[in-house]
Subunit: 342 residues, 2 copies
């Protein structure tokens, strides 16, 4: 667990305060396995201030929900606002989320099962709370704020520890019959490929996630592969991070460059599969791994996606990196909160 | 090119005639590489009569459109109706179809490029004509008639010479930005797999289509594999058809059973991928190969799809064979014609 101290950062408190009378405010929360981010947004979805806190998932759901509430209050306070001025809170959770019942049904990296997140947080904050899967919420944020809500059909793909996604279809977030649509990371692309945490083999996640990259690199180093990463971090590659890969490539490490290129190749194939299936107008790629290795990965992703998509299917389709970075989740949370109380 | 004589079959002419005054009629057409099917439907989408004709694609688009018109007229005449009593015609074409402009942009097995099918057929028939991709139209037919239009989210998968599909999302046919959504057959599932006609490797189509099965069988026979198919059809396996595989399996041919089971396994993985991506309520499998080998393939498809879909994602999801068989296309054509003139 990374130790993250509680920090709050205000962006434009003066303006926020002066807008109080006429403005409506929303809070977006991004709850991850290691950290909680919250952000206060005005009704035009401009972020006025943020707060960050470690999740401390090991303390159990009740403690985590208390920390979320504290993180929300910190961000609100930092903007010189009070909870009474917040109209609603939107929160993204990892795992399978039932937005209707407000429950996190299952979230492996939090150790959660059937947690009534909406209800618990509403009790803590005295505010309406809406929940959704984290990648769905990031997709909402990218679609509404980064792309001004324009594309009728969009796919969001987020490369981090795993690979998640979200689908905008006909202008709306598509969650489907079991509200679990968008699990792009478990699309099997290499049927005899590496074993995935889900039990299958060759899921996209086993080929292009940070975990996949680290697995390949660590295995190769064990087998005697030379890389500048070991001189940076030691033979055990302790605390290897996505940014280290970028640094290694910049230092001319051909091995790391090749591993990253291979992951980008697989991601290109995944994007082509999604273009063939869904005919989106825009495919947006984000997530920590993509943010760190955008320059190295995106050219390969775009090239392969165009080469491998069905003739004509990629015509006019934009394949772009997200510019929201870490803010995608809190932005999407605010979009959800605003939408649900409109 | 299979020689198919023009045949028309009436189902209930008396009833059709007596309903003339109050009824509206629609014609659905399924244009394939080898044959054209047409069917007359009443406004409750009951099929009143059918007609069949060979396509003779080698004669070029104009001749084919004339044959389509004749096939439509035959079916209408067989129902003791006249063209004047038909409200509209809906037609499914292979390849990429722009339903907006009414053009078949590209259809490899017809040798068509940029054919103004809608306009040409409207001129021939003096009736409004609506066109759509053949698998999309089959999906429409299955959804509206076989499933009474109930599922909000459905995937149709059609296994034949290739593999095609169609998506119903939020109750509507999803065609997407380039109107090409639903190309399930070109989802790459084995990145180093067999080369596909599209240029990629390991598309679903290269693993589970009739073409894929025949390729595997013919290659194995060349390499000395024993099978009852050679005693049925000769060493060259001339005129091998899907039904022959069923017969071979019934005669205890373990080799053919294994090849079919493998294709069903891949189809199960493909279905799981689609469940994970789209969270449909119903997945329907049809097409000539599935119709012929339903008993052999479906149990494997369902088992693998459930095993491989993300935990919880297949809960309550129905994975079923279509009962419409060859009628899926004409039925969907009538659905399209009715929808567009409603």
């Amino acid at each position: 667990m990374t130790a993250i101290s509680s920090t709050a950062k205000k962006t434009r408190p003066a303006k926020a305060a002066s807008d109080t009378a006429k403005q409506e405010y929303f809070v977006g929360v991004d709850m991850g396995g290691t950290k909680i981010l919250s952000g206060v947004f005005n009704s035009r979805l401009k972020c006025l201030g943020r707060s960050k806190m470690s999740t401390k998932a090991e303390r159990g759901p009740e403690a985590v929900v208390e920390r979320i509430a504290r993180c929300v209050q910190d961000a609100v306070d930092e903007c010189d606002l009070s909870l009474k001025q917040i109209k609603a809170v939107g929160i993204g959770s990892p795992g399978s989320v039932d937005s209707e019942t407000g429950k996190v049904m299952f979230a492996g990296n939090l150790g959660w099962k059937d947690v009534a997140l909406k209800k618990m947080l509403e009790t803590q904050l005295g505010l309406p709370v809406f929940i959704e899967n984290d990648c769905n919420i990031c997709t909402l944020g990218v679609h509404e704020v980064e792309l001004s809500g324009k594309p009728r059909d969009m796919v969001g793909i987020f490369l981090g520890t795993g690979i998640g996604g979200g689908l905008i279809i006909d202008g709306k977030l598509h969650t489907g019959f079991n509200r679990m649509a968008g699990e792009v990371g478990h699309m099997v692309m290499e049927i005899n490929g590496p074993r995935c945490t889900c039990g299958n083999r060759g899921c996209w996640e086993t080929l292009s996630s940070r975990t996949a990259l680290f697995r390949v690199i660590q295995q190769a180093v064990k087998n005697g592969q030379k890389t500048v990463l070991t001189s940076m971090l030691g033979e055990e590659l302790q605390d290897l991070r996505s940014g280290d890969l970028r640094k290694a490539i910049k230092q001319g490490d051909k091995f790391v460059a090749h591993v990253v290129e291979e992951a980008a190749f697989y991601t290109g194939v995944g994007v082509a599969n999604l273009i063939n299936l869904l005919s989106p107008e825009v495919v947006v790629l984000g997530g920590g791994l993509m943010d760190a290795l955008e320059n190295e990965m995106m050219p390969v992703v775009v090239k392969i996606a165009r080469e491998q998509s069905f003739p004509g299917a990629d015509k006019g389709v934009r394949i772009i990196p997200s510019r929201l970075g870490d803010d995608a989740g809190i932005t999407g949370g605010a979009v959800l909160a605003r939408r649900e109380t409109a």
